[in-house]
Amino acid sequence: MKGENLAVLISLGATDLLVLLVLVFMPIMRRERAFFGVRVSREIYEGIGKRILRRYWLCLVATFLAFAAIGFLTSVYRRNFLYAIVSYLLTLLVAFLLYASFAREVRPFREISDTKKFATSLNTRRLADYTHYALEVVIVLLTIAPVFVLIYYYPTIPERVPVHWGFNGMPDRWAHKSFSTVFFLPVLALYMQSWFLVLKYDLVHAKMTLPAQQAEVYLAAKEQLIVASMRMMDWIRGLIAGLLGLVSMFMLLATNESLRHWMPIANFLVWPFVGLLLVVSLYYIYRFMSINNALEAVTGNSNVQRESEAEKWSSGGLFYYNPNDPALIVEKRDGLGFTYNFAGEGIRLRMALLALVPVIVLWAVLDL
């Protein structure tokens, strides 16, 4: 096996391990407030909880050794990627099933919440209040313009086109010219931007659960969370629009004599976008955690749920299905982030949008 292939195998394995690590720490991120997504008493958490957790960790390690490690070695021995990729996917599937089954085990220890009085703010939350129109115009331009540019230059693009570039900006994979090879990136950009817009709209209307006691403190924190989410979305939307707009032009720049001298500049410009995307993501994860921690320091809990709703989470707080809840997006039980109510009105539209992923992938792979 070539060194390059080995590097790919190892980096895929590292990604696998990273996802596994998230599953390792997910049950205890908010300690007894969301142990496997279930609120339990401190005694349970420190007594029987510790034993359950140790057993869970042991199972995860065993899973990793049994699937990922063996798959990796088989791949190296047989010189075939497939073994490793299948085993990595199996590891994640089994790890997820383990998480769900341990969550089921913890469920009977659930502590019943005594909060019965809830408040709601009379301020209307609107997407328009979190929209900067100049930014929207820029995003639309960066997303739509490459389509027209590529349509205009399509006849001049040669039969053999580069479809992948190395770190130095030199093409390292080629394909024959077709609609899917030329327009894949602009279509992907359009698709991603539609999703971001839907997500932003949904997040503004996320459910805000405010216990009547200390409603002001909760409201202030939840509004901060919404503002932070909106800013993060705007940064990511803008950066993705810029990045994909730029990369969409690579094929044109590399194959057109009169434009070729722009290629090094375009290639260099990719890195600030990638770097900023990373920085922005990390900063906002930190921001969300600090808002939740500040709320927890004052109130003792950053996420209060009704008894009737606590029942509706499955797989240890990963899925929420509650036909009696009119909300479409709710805060996750383990603290960080939001998730869909899979019984909410409008969920079909979102799932249909999600189902377009395989359609786009098939379109690119089958080269239609």
Binding site: K116, K117, F118, A119, T120, S121, L122, N123, T124, R125, H205, K207, M208, T209, L210, A212, A215, E216, L219, R306, S308, E309, N324, D325, P326, A327, L328
Partner: protein, 126 residues
């Protein structure tokens, strides 16, 4: 500005919402022309059925306190409830006072309770 709903209260949820909004109107915290959040937002924050909040809004509209415009939301149209006569308004008060008397409260105790409630209600009122 908040409205609070208590799952253990014996009044139905829609009635609690109506009463909460009325008390904000009485205190002058909700002014004429102020808009109320959409039914869906209130319902999802409070974790109750959409119809519950829609019923509350309709009740407020029936009493002439808000105007519901389809697609444009609900707006406070008046801080004064409709056209009930003084006698009609007195009836529930009479009922409540009778209860206090039957439970053995003295006249001065009842007076204290009434003025305390009134003070609470008008806190921040103009």
């Amino acid at each position: 500005m908040f409205i609070v709903v208590d799952e253990e209260d014996r009044r139905p949820i829609y009635q609690q919402v109506v009463d909460e909004i009325k008390s904000l109107l009485a205190r002058g915290q909700l002014k004429e022309g102020a808009s109320l959040p959409p039914v869906r937002q209130v319902a999802s924050d409070l974790g109750v059925n959409l119809n519950t909040i829609a019923t509350a809004y309709r009740e407020l509209q029936r009493e002439g306190l808000i105007t519901i415009k389809h697609g444009a939301g609900s707006v406070v149209s008046s801080r004064n409830s409709g056209d009930k006569s003084e006698d009609e308004l007195r009836k529930p008060l009479r009922g409540a006072l009778t209860q206090f008397k039957l439970y053995g409260f003295s006249r001065s105790e009842i007076m204290n309770i009434v003025s305390e409630e009134l003070r609470g209600l008008l806190k921040g009122a103009r």
